[in-house]
């Protein structure tokens, strides 16, 4: 297995850990963290492809990751604000109970 393949396997494993967490847990914060993990896995892919690409000069992978981190930070901020809003509304943060459109 080449180093690139190792990196990709690492990234897909991390993606799946995040996916399982997001699907299986009922705690909203953990679901959000699972999504963050999936974003990180995508970033790992960008860096891996930039690192092992035949001509890495343009640094596009790095650019992509920088923007991705910025978007992920925005996502975390909004997501956790939503969590707090949900908590204020129903006094817990269980995902299954946040099923009312009106309240």
């Amino acid at each position: 297995m080449t180093a690139l393949q190792l990196c990709l396997v690492f990234s897909s494993a991390l993606f799946c850990v995040g996916l399982v967490g997001a699907l299986a847990r009922s705690n909203t914060i953990l679901v959000l963290l699972g999504i963050e993990l999936m974003l990180n896995a995508a970033n790992i892919n960008f860096i891996a492809f930039w690192r092992f690409s035949p001509s890495p000069a343009p640094a596009t992978g790095v650019m992509f990751v920088i923007f991705s981190i910025a978007v992920a930070a925005a996502e975390a901020a909004v997501g956790l604000a939503l969590v707090i809003a949900v908590y204020r509304h129903q006094k817990n943060i269980r995902l299954q109970e946040a099923n009312r459109l009106k309240g």
């Binding site: 897909s12 978007v71 975390a76």
Partner: protein, 171 residues
């Protein structure tokens, strides 16, 4: 070289996997911070210094703080501690879905012949990143800036929805 990568990957994956199974939210948040640090270590290994430090600064420094804040502000109820049959079923289906995705992805990666390019680590200086950000990617930089501002404002508005007199600073 590969051994370092494997160690980093195992630490990161282990921390993330344990974090996703723990009941104690603070522990899982702290373990996730460890796994983000592992991702940053991977960036360092790959020669992307700037991204590694940015990852630490953003994830370990900022996102983790917001997560911990959210955990502390939302008290857990008794219902969260008991495993309902519904959530066990969801966990099993989640595992099946995740395992399937993992299998497909790993299978695809192993089966695909990858042409490996330059083996020496490519270097990208901060200056190059700056020039590219301000040059070719200037438009996306602006958009990201607007996005971040809007997200910050939106987060404040959402988090302090029913408090009109005093705006709270929860980004």
């Amino acid at each position: 070289m590969n051994a370092v990568l494997i160690v980093i990957a195992l630490v990161t994956l282990g921390a993330a996997a344990v974090a996703m199974t723990l009941r104690n939210l603070i522990h899982s948040a702290l373990l996730l911070i460890a796994s983000w640090a592992g991702v940053a270590a991977f960036y360092l290994w790959a020669g992307a210094e700037f991204v590694a430090f940015a990852e630490i600064l953003v994830y370990v420094g900022a996102v983790s703080m917001v997560v911990l804040f959210a955990v502390l502000l939302t008290r857990r109820s008794r219902a969260d501690l008991t495993v309902t049959p519904d959530s066990a079923g969801r966990a099993i289906s989640g595992f099946i879905a995740g395992g399937a995705v993992c299998g497909v992805l790993v299978g695809a990666i192993v089966a695909t012949p990858m042409g490996v390019g330059s083996s020496p680590t490519p270097t990208v200086t901060v200056k190059q990143i700056g020039v590219q950000l301000m040059g070719t990617h200037a438009a996306s930089l602006l958009i990201v800036g607007v996005l971040l501002t809007v997200a910050l404002l939106g987060a404040i508005v959402i988090a302090s929805a029913d408090r009109t007199d005093d705006s709270e600073d929860t980004p």
